[in-house]
């Protein structure tokens, strides 16, 4: 599973377009020159050289710092504060500035100037460096926080020790001393008060160098279920991340291979019954991953199932009249649930994953009841 996931990451490092929008902004921090890879825009180096991923020669680019919202990329402010749209805290990001011809968008430059075709002045626009790396850095499980900004990797490096590494949206390590948290080993959900009560929890304490948060969690049996609850903003909510460790984590950074190619093609059976069976097969896999807590892998069979369901949609016209509306609904519910599983799996939140899986399973059942 792990290899499949890594392969997918690489196949998807895309070059982003650099458009302009209607809200021009002027920034007080001066733009600076940096070097990036034409293929891997997430690479920013301060000096000329080669891309650490693919060894291509780096090209010059202009970058500047701005404060932006993790959900609303249109927001770009000079100072920290709240998003004018959703009131979330803004985060410091690095924007890339490109100059492009309004008439010939392929004419771009990292400098002001004119278009070599029509001699119009090039117009500046910015883009955020893409963040596409959810690979674990320490052999653990890598989740995104619900704020869409922070990321957290949990590891179980030795019996009885749990560690949480924190990253920003660009997979850059953050100082663990700025965060609070605890490792929860046992909790009960009171259906009456709708409250979760923690029965066994240990504090997560920052290591001396701030590289990670760590908790001693008692006995060293495997597999180990640990829920990290981490606070990202002062007075903010403690967010939960559900981990299951089947074995000890080995602190190896995943080595990426730039020559890796795209993920396997999905073969769609020709008749609707075949598609329905293929969906049911994926459901078995999804259920296994959900119940075993393999959060970051759920998306693979879940998204395949929804691709199959979308393919099924074209067969709905040919199905009995009284089943059509039901099927239409089930296919849409499956599509929605699959994307939610992908989202919630990324967040590592088991409660949300379970809720999305119930929807997913209900949709699969409905499809099964029509096509057997």
């Amino acid at each position: 599973m792990k290899t499949a996931r890594i392969v997918m990451f690489l196949a998807f490092a895309t070059v982003q377009a650099l458009p302009a929008t209607a809200k021009p902004q002027q920034h007080e921090s001066a733009p600076t020159l940096a070097w990036t890879c034409p293929l891997h825009r997430e690479v920013t180096e301060s000096e000329e050289g080669q891309c650490p991923i693919c060894e291509r020669s780096l090209v010059p680019t202009l970058v500047q710092q701005a404060w932006s919202c993790p959900i609303h990329a249109v927001v770009s402010e000079d100072a920290a504060g709240a998003c004018p749209i959703c009131q979330r805290d803004l985060y410091l990001i690095t924007e890339e500035i490109r100059f492009a011809c309004p008439m010939h968008p392929e004419e771009t430059s990292h400098e002001e100037g004119e278009c070599s075709i029509c001699h119009m002045a090039l117009v500046a626009s910015t883009s955020t460096r893409p963040h596409q790396d959810h690979n674990p850095k320490h052999g653990g499980m890598f989740f995104m926080a619900p704020d869409n900004w922070h990321h957290l990797e949990g590891t179980y490096p030795e019996g009885g020790v749990f560690r949480a590494y924190l990253f920003n949206n660009f997979s850059e390590p953050m100082n663990a001393k700025d965060f609070k948290g605890r490792a929860v080993l046992k909790e009960v959900f009171d259906t009456e008060t709708k409250q979760t009560r923690e029965l066994v929890a240990y504090p997560l304490l920052a290591s001396a160098d701030g590289a990670y948060l760590e908790a001693y969690v008692g006995s060293d049996t495997l597999p180990r279920e640990i829920t990290a609850k981490v606070q990202f903003e002062r007075n903010g909510k403690f967010e939960r991340f559900d981990f299951i460790f089947a074995e000890l984590s080995e602190d190896l950074e995943v080595v990426t291979d730039a020559t890796a190619v795209s993920s396997g093609e999905l073969t769609v059976p020709e008749n609707p019954n075949g598609i329905a069976r293929a969906i049911a097969d994926r459901n078995v896999l999804v259920r296994e991953l959900v119940t075993s807590g393999a959060m970051t892998e759920i998306y693979l069979p879940a998204l395949e199932a929804k691709d199959l369901a979308v393919a099924l949609e074209s067969h709905i016209e040919a199905s009995p009249l009284e089943t059509r509306q039901e099927l239409q609904w089930a296919v849409k519910q499956l599509v929605r649930a699959a994307w939610l599983l992908d989202d919630y799996g990324d967040l590592g939140n088991r409660e949300k994953v379970y809720a999305a899986y119930d929807m997913f399973d209900e949709a699969v059942e409905t499809i099964q009841s029509v096509f057997r």
């Binding site: 929008t21 849409k332 599509v335």
Partner: protein, 355 residues
Amino acid sequence: MRASFGLGLVVVAVASTAFAHKPTVTTFTYNHDIFPIFEAKCGSCHRSGGVAPMSLLTYKEAFPWGVSIKNEVLDLAMPPWFADERYGEFKHGAGLSAKEMDTIVDWCLGGSPEGETPVGTSPSSYVNWPLGEPELILMMPSPMVLDAATSETIQELTFETGLAEPVYLRALDFQPGAPNIVRSATITIRFGGRKQTIATWIPGQTPEALPEGRGRLIPVEAEVGLELHYKKTWLDEGSSVEDRSAVAIYLHDEDPGQLVETVEVTSTSAHTLEADAELVALLPRVDGDIEAVVAEVVRPDGSRERLLRLYHPNSEWPRKYWLVKPIALPAGSRVEVTATAPEGATPVVLVDLIS
């Protein structure tokens, strides 16, 4: 080198790659796959000058919103169409199909590429009065000013009709004066101490006339009420905006013979038909955080049919759901409403019946 980019020299138009998060490459592009969906399902509100805070009708305007679009679409919050596909068939369905939802989410998460050859990105034309010239236009007598400090308000006004004789309504339509702040409008008629909601308007709604030969009686003494929900988006916060909206009234030349009546049904009060009738439309009014509202009919033989189910309806978008095929109901049929709602929230479904 750096000097030439000195302080303030670079005016930057902000746009970004929307924090492309999931490393999935999408095979969909804005120009080829996304624009047609946005134009059909979002463009009535998300166009320049529309009620929504941003246009989605050009690539440059749309793609920075990727994360937010994905969230809204998966939450079923956008587009605002709450009818469960399994029950009833309604005119001008505005929901997303499975394929459309999948295409949008995939594009949002997969790098949001533009694609080649921009399609005609000019928003389709929005006709003034799609049903034709109305017999009567009721214009707000004076503009309503939403001052800089107010972000949201509900305003009610009354038009005296000054009718010399009863008239028969064929259709109603509404036109916002300031489309950027008018969220919705509710049109009521009042007579004999009763106030009845007969129509609602939300942006992008296609107006609908009653079926041929059917009308709604407006007695001489009736007043027409207009309730307007104004709400600014973050773009207009802090500025003052003026609105002068208009209601269009379409009339029959003479008594069409068959009349429409609206009955109110709630979870505690069902409506039993005294005579045979035809059910043409349902207008749910909800408040609060409601999980689901269901309207059903129980025929005298005990058979039950689900007419409409709304899933997580948002009270900001009151919409009348017009049946593609009116349903004939025998006398004695009972229309019922059930709701999955917190205590205190009581959804009302207004049912248009022709007898």
